[in-house]
């Protein structure tokens, strides 16, 4: 592409100005002081959770946030950058989870079974993503949404019915490789009062793989390939007229996104030592992902970090707040029902609708606007 050098001039400028950090973030800086601070805080807290907060619930929440950051960021590549809505993202998430679960259960708890499971899952995801993309992306984007919904539900049904392979509704519990088990001691002495055991190793495995995949996704959306995706999102016909094969680019985007989701699923299974339909495949997770992307900010990547962190925290801790509110309002008709702890999704749903209308850039877009 000979014209791209003139087109991406500002892009090169920022790269030269930014230095190492800019290089690491693929020149896509947060561009807002508040946003930078929040992201830094999330990064530091996630990195230090095992040492900051004792107990198993905080570390579990942190691991879940890491996994969902990858999952949501990969979805953002599709929704925010390519402008296509897929409902099959949980299917790829589930394939990753089942890949690890089945391999570790059948082949025994070794690192080579982890590799086999992950590679098989990645291959299956890639094939499925290409097939769905070629079947539906060439017609109309709206077909893609409906067909992915249908395929995802078929996958969920299959997973629960093929119980001799997948464990059905009960899912699969399995043993991890020895280095990831709680009994394993990396250091004999506790570090800052926290035992350095296999659980900690597992957490940092999740954390660093998630960080790495996130930075890779950031790199992809800021590459010339990512620019083409955004061009297609903005104007399909113009992109086609410029000589980009829209179907090929969209299919490639959905494959990359599927692969990242598969990795996220594998991490989830490794962390939980379990995989079942409810943890990776259910439609409610798909809705959660949608909420996280849109509330965090579509087409920003950093929105995935904020959306996932906010959502998982809300899931774990907002209900406590609502519980208090609900008991305070006991006696008023209907109102306690509306802020009953189980209705937290109602408020996030409302926030979602408002986000789509009022600030399409989500929280990240809002913060960036505030700076200007």
């Amino acid at each position: 592409m000979s014209s791209s050098s003139t087109l991406t001039l500002p892009f090169d400028e920022t790269r030269r100005r930014g230095g190492a950090l800019s290089e690491l973030l693929s020149s896509d800086m947060p561009r807002s002081r508040a946003l930078s601070l929040i992201l830094l805080a999330i990064l530091v807290v996630l990195a230090a959770t095992p040492f900051l907060f004792p107990g198993s619930q905080p570390i579990g929440t942190a691991a879940k946030i890491c996994v969902f950051i990858v999952l949501v960021a990969s979805y953002d590549l599709l929704l925010g950058y390519s402008g296509i809505v897929s409902f099959a993202h949980t299917m790829f998430f589930g394939i990753g989870g089942y890949g690890i679960a089945i391999a570790l259960e059948r082949l025994g708890p070794t690192w080579s079974s982890v590799a086999v499971g992950l590679l098989a899952a990645l291959a299956l995801s890639a094939v499925l993503a290409v097939a769905i993309g070629l079947l539906s992306l060439r017609v109309r984007a709206i077909f893609f949404s409906m067909i992915t919904l249908a395929v995802a539900s078929a996958a969920a049904v299959l997973a629960s019915q093929l119980s001799n392979i997948t464990g059905g509704e009960d899912g699969l519990s399995f043993q991890l490789p020895p280095a990831l088990r709680p009994a394993f001691r990396l250091l004999s002495e506790p570090l800052f009062g926290t035992a350095v055991n296999g659980r900690l190793v597992a957490y940092y495995l999740v954390f660093f793989v998630a960080l790495l995949v996130f930075l890779m996704l950031l790199r992809i959306v800021n590459s010339p390939f990512g620019r083409v995706l955004q061009a297609i999102r903005e104007n399909e016909f113009r992109a086609e007229a410029l000589g980009y094969r829209v179907v090929a680019y969209r299919t490639a985007a959905s494959v990359i996104s599927a692969l990242a989701a598969t990795v996220a699923g594998a991490l989830m299974a490794l962390w939980l030592r379990y995989n079942g339909p409810d943890t990776t495949l259910s439609f409610s997770i798909m809705i959660d992902i949608l909420l996280m992307v849109v509330i965090g900010g579509m087409g920003t990547m950093y929105g995935a970090v904020i959306g996932a962190a906010l959502f998982v925290l809300a899931q774990s801790y907002l209900q406590v707040l609502m519980e208090a509110g609900s008991t305070a309002l006991a006696g008023v008709p209907l109102l306690p029902n509306l802020i009953h702890p189980d209705r937290w999704l109602l408020w996030l749903g409302a926030l979602f609708v408002i986000s789509v209308y009022a600030f399409p850039g989500g929280i990240v877009g809002r913060l960036r606007q505030a700076r200007q």
């Binding site: 539906s136 109309r140 919904l149 249908a150 909420l291 849109v294 009953h340 109602l346």
Partner: protein, 341 residues
């Protein structure tokens, strides 16, 4: 739809009649006949076919509103499923005070109860549809991406509201006394309720076809599908037409919801979304926006699911997807592609 393109009124009488596309219509009987040798016994075949037709009719009731709205307004409503749930829950408004009617043996009283449930449910969902159109959908006319997102948001919120109003646990609803059980003719078993479903489904289909092809409103709707600007230029308020079609579509979902609720005999807020997968498959098969296609697609999907479920149960789980893939390979835009798009 080609069979709707030309109407022999005085002005167009000299025009040649548009060719009817018979091929997809023949699919359903062809499929039924094809299945006969595989099923084996004719009595089982009749039972399976009637059950499948009933299932198909219920899917059609739930899907018709969605495809109608899409055809006319180019709006894809992923929140359609929640109208199905809402319609189902609205039966509680009738079943609560009139519980005695469901227990009585009189078939008249039972059918009256069903009719009343349908009327109330359609009223409730029509109202909800009007609100939904105004609050959720109207700001995002023209952008499919936003429509999908916003209607999903509307779905989440409405589903949670159902939870808040009626509680989150599943609610059992009894089928009226005389609609339980089955008609038995020799070896042939037909569940009574399924027969009722077939009758209602056929009535709605014929009613819609008549309305669309034989009335002035239908003429305007079809014209609106082809060219909304021209209809507006001729002095009709296309906006009002749009809104009323959206409301009618929601009411049809409510009707489908009642039928579906009595079939399942339990109410859950997620029941609409569960069946939406089938609904989407059906309208993709039929061609987005086509009522006839939606009807044929519903019957096709339900019959295939029934036959395959009988012959090779493991395959039944993905039979819908297979049917969809085959149809899309044959006709990438669905059985009856709507001309404009």
């Amino acid at each position: 739809m080609s069979d709707m393109a030309a109407e022999p009124t005085a002005a167009t009488a000299e025009l040649p009649r548009a060719k009817t596309d018979w091929l997809p219509l023949l699919l359903v009987p062809a499929l039924a006949l094809l299945a006969l040798p595989f099923v084996g016994s004719p009595s089982t075949w009749v039972t399976l076919t009637v059950a499948g037709l009933a299932m198909g009719m219920m899917i059609f009731l739930m899907a018709s509103g969605l495809t109608l709205v899409f055809g006319l307004m180019d709006i894809i409503n992923f929140g359609h499923g929640v109208f199905i749930s809402l319609g189902a829950y609205a039966t509680l408004l009738v079943l609560g005070p009139l519980a005695g009617w469901a227990l009585s043996d009189s078939i008249g009283l039972n059918l009256a109860l069903l009719g009343l449930c349908i009327l109330v449910a359609m009223g409730v969902t029509a109202l909800a549809g009007a609100v939904f159109e105004r609050v959720i959908v109207r700001p995002v006319y023209g952008s499919h991406l936003k429509q999908i997102l916003v209607t999903m948001g509307g779905l989440i919120v409405t589903e949670q509201l159902i939870h808040a109003i009626w509680g989150a646990s599943p609610i059992p609803i009894p089928l009226p006394q005389s609609l339980r059980g089955a008609f038995v003719f020799g070896d042939i078993v037909m569940e009574r309720y399924r027969v009722v479903a077939v009758v209602i489904g056929l009535a709605v289909f014929l009613g819609m076809e008549l309305l669309l092809n034989r009335t002035r409103i239908g003429l305007l709707i079809r014209a609106g599908v082809e060219n909304p600007e021209m209809v507006e230029a001729l002095g009709y308020r296309i906006r009002r037409l749009f809104v009323s079609v959206f409301i009618a579509g929601s009411a049809l979902a409510g009707l489908g919801g009642v039928m579906w609720a009595f079939y399942r005999q339990t109410l859950t807020a997620g029941m609409g979304m569960e069946v939406m997968v089938l609904v989407f498959i059906v309208i993709i098969i039929g061609g987005l926006g086509s009522i006839t296609g939606c009807f044929v697609g519903s019957l096709l999907v339900a019959l295939v699911a029934n036959y395959v479920g009988f012959i090779e149960p493991k395959l039944a789980l993905i039979s819908n997807i297979l049917v969809m893939a085959l149809v899309l390979i044959w006709r990438p835009q669905g059985l009856f592609p709507v001309a404009r798009r």
